[in-house]
């Protein structure tokens, strides 16, 4: 298994336009998930300068909550209520649950340490991450749980016919765009638009922006800093919970460890897009998703991870503040 440098061009030619479109579609779907996770990271980092390692695990818990709701109504392939309300219910319950979890984490693990050195906060975040991951492992065991979303609502599950989620909706250059991928893309965009409106137009959004700029000044203006921070965590975790359910619907297999790499990629996406910038997180997420998809498709599993790391490191070196981030002025 040697260096595929020259064979990359062969692969690109072989896969042709169909392959390129297929990889683009995959990258978009995956990238939407990363974007949602990145939004949570970027909001928390903007307001607390904290790298919340536990965010990926909130995403994982969201996926499990969605699984619980799905099974409470009979599970795949034939649940006891109609598919659409079931999915909406899964989203709502998982988002609320994840939001509450995020608030609890902030309240008990991070609030007592406000003002501590960065390293201390990071280590605490790591500790919370271990705690969450292994609690899920203790409660649910190590085996994968499956949404079985491929057959969800299928007329003929025995013949392995795809259910409505995986039915192709339209075709471009010979590539099927499945319903679930479009749902994920649309929902992510809707959530991101909602978030942007929230931050830009509402009072809470103004308070969040003010607190992110300067805690003390915001407090002096009468803003309840604790509540604003709690709200930020809530919003970020709600998005992560939504991403978790989307993951379950697209990829089916969930287990306690799924948050680790997703969280890592999500944070990278946030950093690449510019930490503290919401459009940056979205852009970063899509970028990471596309890079991963194309690297896997054109370079193959041996080099794809390294290529993704290398590209992200280069972006960070060339523009340390990210693509859309503001130039950070260090106060002395």
């Amino acid at each position: 298994m040697g260096l595929p440098l020259f064979s990359v061009f062969d692969t690109v030619r072989e896969l042709g336009w169909t392959g390129a479109v297929e990889l683009f579609r995959n990258g978009l779907a995956l990238g939407s998930l990363y974007a949602l996770i990145a939004l949570g990271y970027t909001m928390v980092y903007g307001i607390l300068k904290l790298l919340n390692f536990a965010h990926g695990d909130v995403y994982m818990v969201g996926a499990f909550i969605g699984f619980g709701v799905l099974n409470a109504f009979g599970g795949s392939p034939a649940p006891t209520i109609a598919i659409l309300p079931l999915i909406v219910l899964m989203f709502v319950v998982a988002m609320l649950g994840a939001g509450v979890l995020g608030v609890v984490i902030e309240r008990f693990a991070y609030r007592p340490l406000r003002g501590s050195p960065r390293l201390t906060l990071l280590i605490t975040a790591l500790g919370v991450s271990f705690f969450l991951q292994n609690s899920m492992l203790l409660l649910f065991g190590a085996q994968f749980r499956s949404y079985q979303s491929f057959q969800l609502g299928s007329d003929n599950p025995a013949a392995f016919e795809p259910g409505p989620l995986f039915e192709p909706v339209f075709t471009i250059a010979g590539v099927n765009f499945q319903r679930i991928q479009l749902v994920v893309l649309a929902t992510s965009i809707a959530l991101m638009v909602a978030l942007t409106l929230l931050v830009a137009k509402t009072t809470l959004g103004k308070a969040i922006r003010a607190t992110a700029f300067d805690h003390e000044a915001a407090a002096m203006m009468g803003i309840d800093v604790n509540r604003v921070i709690a709200a930020t965590f809530f919003i970020g975790s709600v998005l992560a919970g939504a991403a978790g359910v989307m993951f379950g619907l697209m990829f089916s297999q969930i287990n306690h460890f799924m948050g680790f790499y997703a969280g890592l990629k999500g944070f990278t996406a946030a950093v690449v897009g510019g930490i503290g910038s919401i459009p940056g997180a979205m852009l970063g997420g899509l970028l990471v998703g596309l890079v991963e998809s194309y690297a896997q498709g054109y370079l193959g599993g041996q080099w794809s991870d390294i290529a993704v790391f290398a590209i992200l490191i280069i972006v960070l070196l060339v523009r340390p503040t990210g693509l859309l981030g503001a130039r950070a002025i260090q106060k002395v």
């Binding site: 298994m1 040697g2 260096l3 980092y45 300068k49 790298l51 609890v104 008990f108 693990a109 007592p112 340490l113 501590s116 050195p117 960065r118 390293l119 201390t120 906060l121 990071l122 280590i123 605490t124 790591l126 500790g127 919370v128 991450s129 271990f130 705690f131 969450l132 991951q133 292994n134 609690s135 492992l137 203790l138 409660l139 890592l264 944070f267 990278t268 950093v271 599993g301 041996q302 080099w303 991870d305 390294i306 790391f309 290398a310 992200l312 490191i313 960070l316 070196l317 340390p320 950070a328 260090q330 002395v332």
Partner: protein, 489 residues
């Protein structure tokens, strides 16, 4: 060894001083003098200076192979020293210079693989150790230098991510990429490189565990000495000021970038050296030896011992290695059980200040347990009387005290969730009210142990480790022997 006291203990003056209010000065001295265990430790540090500490450590450690058999020597002796070395390297980067390096274990792996490639059957190259080891150290240090170059532009958390990527990239490269060089895969893929030569110089060979132990011990002593000198020198002081506030350090003329590179190089060099020895210990290396769990263990050693403290690294390594082994699934569960109950006891002691109150709480816990047990036995006997997992001699005592239901497999999970909620609620209670809730929570913890944790000890260990990190950062972020830091943002 290298842990500096942040407040000098001033000697008592032997006569009246001009311009000093005696009464105020003596009151201040009394207030500043640390009390309790920390005070004893600090005063002991004045007497037992680092060279004496090193001598004691080296002396005791040299005698260890005479006490322990081969198996225990490997587990307790060699592993401890291995993590001491790795912790020292990480301490240089994170503790001395304040650079968060999450890819440190890649240097360790790089050193091990490079040594393996140069001294094994893989390519048939069998260079002598006297050539290979220095070459590997220099190359790994250069790699550290290379990695340090981007650190100039990247602030704390960004550097963490980039170094984490580097660490993961190493594992992926070694495991999956494995490019074909000179006919064979360079790193051997998932099977790694086997049949690594033992360390050989001047006709002496380190092939038994005792010999390898002494090699590690001498290396550790030398590196400890070197780092101590570094820490006490001008460079060490400059590194400390870099750690505390990079901007201020740069403003007063300290070559911040050069120091960062130096820290990375030294830390990487130490890791590379340890990697060589590691390869000879196992005679084969694979990617799994250099992945995230190892990184976490090294960090645990340095966090527990205290960043910036050399003796802390030694202590941290001892505590972590011994306790992990003590809690391993191979040992009877009673080890872990005793440790857990002791932990509950320690928590009670730390939360409740006076001794008679502690006794009261413990008595209340025991009484509560007996009361609950009696009630449950009378009302719903199926909810108690379950088997105590590997109880040994303590089994009968526990069976009579803890409610262990039989045939209700989900009880453990529910109890665990209840315990987490109870502990969180406990932290919110006022101190005076806490004492009333404490016996119930302690008893609940015992129930959770017997019905849930003891069945999955490895998972319980990680849960407790995570909780310990959070608590440690809240209570004593500087670790056991470190110095408290204040970050000016």
């Amino acid at each position: 060894m290298g842990s500096e006291s942040d407040r000098p203990v001033l000697p008592e003056p032997d006569g009246p001083q001009v311009g000093v209010d005696e009464w105020v000065a003596s009151a201040e001295r009394l207030r500043d003098r640390p009390t309790g265990a920390a005070g004893v430790l600090r005063r002991a540090e004045q007497v037992v200076t680092p060279p004496i500490q090193l001598a004691i450590f080296a002396g005791l450690a040299a005698l260890v192979p005479f006490w322990l058999g081969t198996g225990d020597l490997f587990t307790y002796g060699i592993f401890v020293l291995l993590y001491v070395l790795l912790g020292l390297g990480l301490n240089t980067i994170v503790g001395f210079a304040g650079l968060l390096d999450l890819g440190y274990v890649a240097f360790f792996g790089f050193g091990a693989y490079m040594y393996a490639i140069l001294s094994s059957d893989h390519y048939g190259i069998h260079w002598p150790a006297i050539v290979t080891v220095p070459l590997v150290v220099v190359t790994t240090a250069s790699l550290g230098l290379l990695l340090g170059i981007p650190s100039r532009r990247l602030l704390g958390d960004y550097l963490a991510i980039v170094t984490l990527f580097f660490g993961q990239a190493f594992v992926v490269f070694v495991n999956a990429t494995n490019p074909v060089v000179a006919g064979t895969g360079l790193t051997g893929g998932p099977n790694g490189i086997a049949d690594i030569d033992p360390l050989r110089f001047f006709g002496l060979e380190a092939s038994t565990r005792t010999q390898q132990y002494y090699v590690l011990l001498v290396s550790a002593v030398l590196i400890l000495t070197g780092l101590h000198f570094l820490s006490e020198s001008r460079t060490g002081r400059a590194l400390r000021s870099l750690r505390e506030d990079p901007l201020a350090a740069g403003a007063i003329g300290i070559p911040v970038n050069r120091l960062k590179l130096l820290a990375f190089s030294i830390g990487a060099g130490i890791a590379g050296f340890t990697g060589c020895i590691f390869g000879t210990l196992l005679t084969a290396v694979t990617a799994g030896n250099f992945d995230i769990p190892i990184l976490i263990t090294i960090y645990a050693v340095v966090i527990l011992g205290g960043f910036g403290s050399l003796s802390g690294v030694v202590l941290g390594s001892l505590v972590i290695t011994v306790s992990f082994q003590f809690l391993a699934p191979e040992n009877p569960q009673n080890n872990a059980r005793v440790l857990f109950y002791t932990l509950i006891g320690i928590v009670i002691v730390l939360l409740v200040r006076s001794w008679w109150r502690v006794a009261l709480v413990l008595a209340a816990t025991v009484a509560l347990g007996l009361v609950v047990q009696t009630i449950v036995e009378a009302v719903a006997p199926s909810w108690t009387g379950g088997p105590v997992v590997e109880g040994g001699r303590l089994g009968d005592v526990i069976e009579g005290w803890v409610v262990i239901p039989e045939g209700h497999p989900d009880f453990g999970s529910v109890a665990y969730v209840a315990l987490v909620v109870a502990v969180l609620a406990l932290t919110q209670l006022r101190r005076s009210r806490r004492i009333f809730a404490l016996p119930a929570v302690a008893y609940l913890a015992a129930v959770v142990w017997e019905t849930s944790f003891v069945l999955q000890p490895a998972v319980a260990r990680w849960i407790l480790f995570g909780a310990l990190l959070v608590v440690l950062m809240n209570v004593r972020p500087q670790g056991l022997l470190g110095t408290p830091r204040v970050e000016i943002v």
